[in-house]
Point group: C2
Chain length 326, copies 2
């Protein structure tokens, strides 16, 4: 049995709890929160402890799944905890991964632990597919499209606008761009040509809708470089039609082979996810299994999805895998 501690109990923490229940070789030891444990009710009735006391539980935990946010939680928590535990996180600020890796690697090595960072689907399963496809088809080009799905960061950005009560932003791949890529045309695509953004906004009574819309579509980094559509809806409609957290997307690589590059090959990996956090935590859990196994084999330090043999994600033996899945 792999004994797991969850750090942080938001959407991802709850998704991890539910994933643990689906995997017979894992069990949830407890949830660690910065909130008063008496105020946190878990879905499965699992125990809740204060994060400050986590070291007292060191002997009872094989691996910690750290479910905090990439902006401020993980850069601090993952290195700090990697000194004392095997850990897995889903750090997803792509530009800062090298820095995060170095910090976590030093701490994990200090404690002779395994730390797996940046798991999930992007980074994570999408990264794996970019790597495999590039290694197999070096003369080619890859494209990542996201959506249709809810972007939490963009929804939050809209909510910060004055007069906005609630907002949901969907990222949508441009179908004609996807088709060009699937045909192996290797187009050069601008940001605007790859994705559109669709926003549903609940505004305060009497708010200046025209101003809100303008603030959204001109917002630098978030919306200015995209074709953005804004729909104002009621709070009831928001609840009824937009309470899920779906996401997905695809990684497509097209490449050429042959003495004269006369043959084209298309590799496509796609995800259609009803629940972004539940899928992400399902990936994280598989890597938690791998972390425990690597630690048992005497490895230490920071690892990413690139470093981990696929078999380590599965509870099955090498024999079973070769017999049934190869």
């Amino acid at each position: 049995m792999i004994r797991i501690g969850i750090v942080g109990y938001g959407n991802l923490g709850r998704g991890t709890e539910s994933a643990i229940l689906q995997n017979p070789d894992t069990e949830l030891y407890g949830v660690f929160s910065r909130r008063d444990p008496a105020t946190v009710k878990t879905l499965s009735g699992a125990k809740v402890y204060h994060l400050d006391n986590i070291l007292e539980h060191k002997e009872n935990i094989d691996v910690l799944i750290i479910c905090g946010g990439s902006a401020t939680d993980l850069p601090v928590q993952t290195p700090a905890l990697a000194e004392h535990f095997n850990v897995v996180d889903s750090f997803d600020t792509h530009a800062k991964i090298p820095e995060h890796f170095e910090k976590v690697d030093a701490q994990a090595k200090k404690g002779y632990n395994i730390a797996v960072i940046s798991t999930g689907w992007d980074p994570g399963m999408f990264s794996l597919n970019r790597l495999y496809a590039e290694a197999v088809l070096p003369d080619g080009k890859d494209y990542t499209f996201w959506g249709k799905g809810v972007s939490q960061g963009h929804s939050d950005a809209i909510r910060r606008i004055e007069g906005v009560i609630d907002a949901r932003q969907y990222t949508i791949p441009v179908e004609s761009a996807v088709e060009k890529v699937r045909k192996g045309e290797n187009p050069d695509l601008t940001t605007r040509e790859k994705h559109t953004r669709l926003c549903f906004v609940v505004a305060q009574d009497g708010a200046d809708l025209e101003r809100i819309e303008k603030e959204i579509v001109t917002m630098p980094n978030y919306f200015a470089d995209y074709d953005t559509t804004v729909n104002f809806i009621s709070a009831e409609e928001m609840k009824r039609d937009h309470s899920g957290i779906p996401h997905g997307g695809m990684v497509i690589r097209s490449g050429k082979t042959g003495l004269n590059k006369e043959n084209t090959h298309i590799i496509e990996y796609s995800l259609k996810l009803d629940s972004n956090p539940e899928f992400t935590s399902s990936v994280i859990l598989a890597y938690a299994r791998a972390a425990v196994r690597m630690k048992k084999e005497g490895m230490t330090g920071c690892k990413t999805v690139f470093d981990i043999p696929p078999a380590y994600l599965s509870p099955k033996s090498g024999e079973e895998l070769r017999k049934n899945l190869l």
Copy 2:
């Protein structure tokens, strides 16, 4: 530079030669053939040696890519050569993989070499995707569809029928079955419901076409369990319309998550290949790179795609991969 020897110079051997030219960290040392070397002309002008003398070249070769057939060549050649060289093969008789693994493992360990077996796309990239998807979504079901593409084995089976001069057999996934799977319906599909078989046959003048067609569609194992269509065409049409060796297919897994399994996720990996042998050899070459690296790190024995960290397939460093692909 990774110095490579190719064993066997058919479609796969030629594909490997062409893949080596595309990968700047690899070079072709030579081709080893059972034929008289004087009669074998390579595409790139690479040297050809007789297979019987291969041990004389041991010091000049980092890894052998064995391009023989799974029926009779690889079961003998891979174990025999694994004692003396790092080797990679594309052994694809799924039911006999465990036996092949054991034989190759013993020989590779004897010679302190690395042997990677059963690479390519199925087994190979498809197997990887079955494994990753199952590890992430344990409550689910996976489906592998092949095609549209040319099946060499089925084409050969038709050619053995009396009165047949040439034949090409396309395996085609049943679109309605694929759609059900993509919707997450997890249907139970019979062999007949998953694929159809489309045959193009050039018959001898005056041959009994009705008898040939009947022999094809009733052939046990190959065609009897499928809806099979037979078209008789001329030798000119065969050459004009059916000289490529395209293939492809997809691995789709749908699985549920959530406390009440209320959320469905679909993972799909698909390939569209202009040339089956060239794509297969591109995969094999990436695993040849991995074999050399594993050997350098002191590992020995037989490995499959399940055992090999993805990063080992790439010529890029860990830093580069984390920075650009994660």
